[in-house]
């Protein structure tokens, strides 16, 4: 009940003219970056970040989170109409969304996607409303060892459940940690890992990394694959939209299951991309219409979309209540929180009630705004896709360059960004995950501090991580997640080969 009261208070904050305006702007910009290949939610949010420094934190987070929702929706539009995923997390939507649109039912495909997406997002927000403050309350009692254990758990779940080759994930994660350590050490004040370049004392900003990894890298992938835009009619028939939305409940079980998968993957940082693939895979395995998957099966759209949005939304839960972002975009937003002078984590729920509940309330509103706007603007953004790629590419390169430069007016950052671009391309090409790298840059220092403070408490003994039941459980859970890939492989070997892959 206390939560509901706080939520109502939050609606009071979010429902102002100014904030609704920011939501609309954020969603539209989000759809734009979602539609454009090469620009995605992490980039878009990073680009907007400098513009929010003069704002109230609650207004700023409403703008940024709305952009996130817009980007999640925008990515599905191009997946369905052009077979080009605008966002990595909407790749799974192309499997059935595009065939359905190609067969002359683009409106049905879009409406199914948006309807399930909205349901997934709603599930995520409800979960945040109910659980976030409770998690924060538990976390208030956390000391450094518990925090380190939670960080460990988060990173372990990337390796165990992210879906990428575990050692590649580990390397990506560790590179992020190393980059986070560059510059002045917060504990001792000494300068680390500058490789002889004086300017590196300022450290490596996550914005620079995001611009390169997700911007330039993604662009390189896009030109290399040379997609052909085959236009499908992008006219939205409203009657069909309503008919589809009314018919969605018959996929109720798939919706619930996918939302649950999404929420789980969002909270334990598996991320929306892994969530959508996992949900699609499970839907395909369980569905009686298995053979129809890949040919325009509605549940093939419902499953990835609901999971994608549920994961994207619930990724904010650990960010708010523990200070651990559940996705790359959430990591960028958390970087923003720290720049605005807020301390992400359980104290937010005590000290910044307006901020937290204003944000949560805006998530309900923002998703409604996003569904309406995305339906209204489908034809406009679809037309944008017909702009030739050789025009879009330089624009995106210039935007990323200026974005990286403006972080601290440094040309070195621009050079670094290009380096990250090449790395991002190689990593994407070879299935190294990028999200763990960004996450580790943002929270690497915090994880290290937690470890070193724990060591100070225990005078250098690792036993502190096994001293209390809670810490021990978290650490053991983390170890179990780390071993997951190995366990699955062993089980896979022992099981008969019959039911693998229909």
């Amino acid at each position: 009940m206390e939560n509901l009261e706080a939520l109502m208070h939050g609606f009071g904050i979010a429902l102002s003219g100014n904030h609704i305006f920011l939501m609309v702007i954020g969603v539209l910009l989000g759809i734009l970056v979602g539609v454009l290949p090469g620009l995605g939610a992490p980039n878009g949010v990073s680009l907007l970040l400098p513009l929010t420094f003069g704002m109230q934190p609650v207004s700023a987070i409403i703008l940024l989170s709305s952009m996130y929702w817009g980007a999640l929706f925008g990515g599905s539009v191009t997946s369905i109409l052009f077979n080009i995923p605008g966002e990595p997390s909407s790749v799974a939507t192309t499997f059935d969304g595009y065939p359905m649109a190609r067969d002359g039912r683009p409106t049905t495909a879009l409406a199914t996607a948006f309807g399930s997406a909205a349901f997934g997002a709603l599930a995520g927000v409800v979960l945040i409303t109910l659980a976030a403050s409770w998690v924060a309350q538990v976390a208030l009692a956390f000391g450094p060892p518990e925090y380190f254990a939670v960080y460990f758990l988060a990173f372990a779940s990337f390796i165990g459940m992210g879906g990428s080759p575990p050692i590649k994930t580990l390397v990506s994660l560790a590179i992020g940690f190393a980059l986070a350590a560059v510059g002045i050490d917060t504990v001792s004040g000494s300068v680390r890992l500058t490789m002889g370049i004086d300017e590196m004392v300022k450290g490596v900003s996550f914005v620079v990394a995001v611009m390169g990894l997700f911007g330039i890298g993604e662009l390189m992938i896009a030109v290399e694959e040379e997609f052909h835009v085959k236009a499908i009619s992008s006219k939205v028939e409203w009657r069909e939209v309503f008919r589809t939305l009314v018919g969605l409940p018959k996929h109720g079980w798939a919706l619930l299951r996918s939302a649950a998968i999404g929420c789980w993957m969002g909270i334990t940082p598996g991320g929306p991309t892994a969530a959508s693939f996992m949900s699609y895979g499970i839907a395909k395995r369980l569905s009686p219409r298995r053979a129809n998957f890949g040919k325009g099966e509605p549940e093939g759209i419902v499953a990835p979309e609901a999971a994608d949005h549920a994961a994207g939304t619930s990724a904010l839960l650990p960010m708010l209540s523990l200070g651990i972002p559940g996705s790359a975009t959430a990591a960028v937003m958390m970087g923003g929180l720290m720049i605005w002078g807020l301390n992400p984590g359980p104290m937010l729920f005590v000290e910044q009630k307006d901020f937290v509940w204003g944000l949560i309330a805006s998530m309900y509103l923002g998703n409604v705004v996003a569904v309406v706007l995305v339906l209204l603007t489908v034809p406009i953004f679809a037309a944008l896709m017909r702009v030739p790629f050789f025009i879009i590419a330089p624009v995106i390169v210039i935007i990323c360059t200026v974005g990286a430069y403006s972080v601290s007016n440094s040309y070195l950052d621009v050079m670094l960004m290009m380096g990250f671009g090449v790395l991002g391309y190689l990593f994407k090409k070879l299935h190294y995950p990028l999200a763990p790298l960004v996450l580790a840059i943002v929270i690497g220092d915090k994880a290290e501090d937690a470890f070193r403070q724990s060591m100070l408490m225990s005078k250098g003994s690792l036993g502190i991580f096994f001293a209390k039941p809670l810490v021990t459980t978290l650490i053991l859970l983390g170890v179990a997640l780390l071993l997951m890939p190995t366990i699955w492989r062993t089980i896979g070997r022992m099981m008969p080969r019959s039911e693998v892959k229909p």
């Binding site: 400098p50 513009l51 080759p165 050692i167 590649k168 580990l170 390397v171 560790a174 590179i175 940690f177 190393a178 350590a181 050490d185 504990v187 001792s188 000494s190 680390r192 890992l193 500058t194 490789m195 330039i216 662009l219 390189m220 030109v223 290399e224 040379e226 030739p388 050789f390 025009i391 590419a393 330089p394 624009v395 390169v397 210039i398 360059t401 200026v402 430069y405 403006s406 007016n409 040309y411 621009v414 050079m415 290009m418 790395l423 190689l426 990593f427 090409k429 070879l430 190294y432 290290e448 470890f451 070193r452 060591m455 100070l456 250098g460």
Partner: protein, 155 residues
């Protein structure tokens, strides 16, 4: 032509070299336990070792598995048409500044693909530079680099 094998190997070598650099660099900061707690080089050392070990593993794995060509001549050519101009654009920023660099970049891209007239390309180029100026210099008061050329003209 680039095979999956050599791409895997190159990436593993890059990450491995980075790991090695991190290890060497972290040794300067002191490793282990001192009166002030864990010394500041310890964490980077562990991380560097993880990167190096992981890269070695990926190197071997990549060498054993992927053999097929994953980047043919046409893919490489397309990559180059994106990356080379972008790298030139970034490279000339210290010389001629962001605005002329951006304008030339847009002009070059449009002229290269021969769509529309050169006049149109020139208009788009100036438009791009102007949009940057309005957006960053005026609206958000972020000063973009002027380059040696800008200094020379006192801009």
């Amino acid at each position: 032509m680039v095979s999956g094998r050599s791409l895997e190997a190159a990436t593993a070598l890059i990450t491995g070299a980075f790991g090695a650099a991190v290890i060497v660099s972290s040794l300067d900061n002191g490793i282990g336990w001192s009166a002030a707690g864990v010394e500041s080089g310890t964490f980077p050392l562990i991380v560097g070792l993880v990167i190096l070990a992981g890269s070695l593993f990926n190197l071997v794995q990549g060498w054993l598995h992927a053999r097929a060509v994953i980047l043919g001549p046409s893919e490489l050519r397309r990559l180059a048409t994106l990356f080379v101009p972008a790298a030139v654009f970034v490279g000339v920023i210290p010389l001629i500044g962001m605005y002329p660099a951006a304008a030339l970049y847009v002009f070059g891209a449009l002229a290269w693909h021969r769509r529309g007239s050169l006049l149109l390309a020139a208009i788009a180029a100036i438009g791009a530079a102007l949009a940057l100026y309005l957006m960053f210099e005026l609206t958000f008061q972020i000063s973009l680099p002027r380059g040696a050329l800008g200094t020379f003209f006192g801009f």
